[in-house]
Symmetry: C2
């Protein structure tokens, strides 16, 4: 029986956004989604079996060398319980996780976090799990984590209990992303609560679901045809449609702030100046610009020069989640 | 026969927004709208009959003492032709117009402009026109101008060929507005073109129309009940719904800029601090905050302190359009 496993996973940024849940229990998405994993945003997680009487000991969690809050510990224990309840793992565990980037800053740390955790747990599991199964299990921790299991360009349909699959592996994706971090206070409304509010009060929610489905189908074709202009145009429009659905929620969910909008308006100028780049924004203020690999350095330079930008990073497509050690 | 008439009209800011046209020719709105006229944003227009052979002379136009561009002259001549074609006026005219605030800066100068022009023309008309008829004629120049004819809190339904009526006269409206001017380049997409783009490409357009109708009915009740909290909440949500419909347009119409969003986020803080104020934004970047009259001074002070705000003005409810001189 394995006693310890370490796994590494990349965060991913959705090109077709996930906003809306079919139901809370299964954490199945109401919209299909499609993403690019980023090699610069990674989580490395080690899971170790704790010896002793499982009725007396608890799971332990460290993130970036710090003990987690009670609410995070509760969420993570519930996640291990899901694996235990299915008979996939037995006993108690210590979990140690490190992010290569700011945690909880709206940069998809829950995606890479739950992907790395699910991957590590799969190495300790009582039975062999394939990637699709691991992706499904990652989704139960955080919806977008499912897409970090296959890595590269990954797609997750909106079926019941879906897993994500790889459309193009990282090394074959000829694009990259410049992520502009936008300083922000912690989200006043988290994603799950926000999705519920949008479903209940946004007059545009049902049209958002229909739009996401259309965009997803169109994006799969654009990706198959490696049509960068179509991919970028669709991704940007889909991101705007999600944020518009949020803004129309009552009361409004406005995840953008002043720097977000300055970056969007600057981008319009860069594009009319001939640099082909598009923006996509998750449920937070950070702006992810993407362009062909050859344009990334120029793009990074332009982003860094925008007033107010403190951190901007260049990211190439990130690989699938991976078990790096086991013992 | 009258030879000259001067009229004065206030600009108005919509509390339930007009975005969408039934058809271009009649300039009838696809959404019902409701507005507050502002006493600080006025246009004064003098129309004088030019003697001579009407086949040989042209109408002349001066705005703020400057000759207008050819395209503006064409639009204004076409507007006079509308009155002439209906036999309401005869001959050629010189039109001189002065705005008390920046022209074409997204501060509804076309509303006060066409309202003052229609009012002045009515004094020179071949037959007596009532306010509703003048409002309908003002609408043919600019949709929102119809609401500046009755002034105060005015409502315009989305029927065919509607005119606006007064719900509460200015002196009885216990609220006011602080208008924060946000520096911007001229709109890259004007309102009429933007409305057409939204109708043709925004996935949320049909839901926007339905939402505007519901909001309008709810707002009429809230105004009848003088329920400021309901009025503010509805106005802000309706404004957000319009901008969300614009953002979801493909390509996106993003009229907000960085200062717009900074103001919106600051307002959230003021409100949680106990100052009851709400924001509404027309098809431009400027933010109009409104509050009860007793809170306006404090509101103005807070708005002026927001980084980047250069001009903020306090406005009380503005009266109906008025003929000030005739000879």
């Amino acid at each position: 029986m394995m006693h310890s496993a370490t796994a590494k996973a990349c965060a991913n940024i959705a090109l077709i956004k996930y906003w809306g849940k079919q139901d809370a229990e299964s954490n199945s998405p109401a919209t299909p989604s499609l993403s690019l994993s980023l090699d610069g945003l990674t989580t490395t997680t080690t899971v170790k079996r704790i010896d002793g009487d499982t009725r007396k000991i608890l799971d332990t969690f460290l993130i970036n060398d710090e003990t987690v809050s009670d609410s995070v510990a509760k969420r993570l224990t519930a996640y291990l319980d899901l694996w235990r309840d299915r008979g996939l793992i037995e006993g108690r565990f210590s979990v140690e996780s490190h992010n290569s980037f700011p945690t909880g800053a709206g940069l998809a740390s829950s995606a890479s976090g739950f992907a790395a955790l699910a991957m590590a747990l799969s190495a300790l599991a009582t039975k062999q799990l394939n990637r699709r199964q691991i992706s499904r299990l990652a989704r139960r921790g955080s919806g977008s984590a499912a897409r970090s299991i296959p890595g590269g360009i990954a797609a997750m349909p909106a079926t019941s209990d879906p897993g994500a699959t790889c459309l193009i592996p990282a090394e074959e994706v000829p694009w990259g992303m410049v992520v502009a971090e936008v300083k922000s206070t912690p989200k006043s409304v988290g994603s799950t609560e926000g999705m519920n509010l949008s479903r209940d009060t946004s007059p545009y929610y049902s049209q958002w679901l229909a739009t996401a489905k259309r965009d997803y189908q169109a994006m799969k074709i654009a990706i198959q045809e490696r049509d960068f202009t179509a991919i970028g145009t669709l991704a940007e429009a889909n991101s705007h449609a999600m944020h518009a659905c949020m803004v129309a929620t009552r009361p409004a969910l406005i995840y953008w702030n002043d720097l977000t909008l300055r970056l969007l308006h600057e981008m319009t100028k860069w594009r009319s100046g001939g640099l082909e780049t598009y923006a996509t924004i998750d449920a937070g203020p950070h702006v992810c610009f993407f362009s062909k690999r050859a344009d990334l350095d120029q793009l990074l330079d332009l982003v860094k020069r925008v007033e107010g930008v403190k951190v901007a990073t260049l990211n190439l497509p990130g690989p699938a989640a991976l078990i790096t050690e086991r013992s």
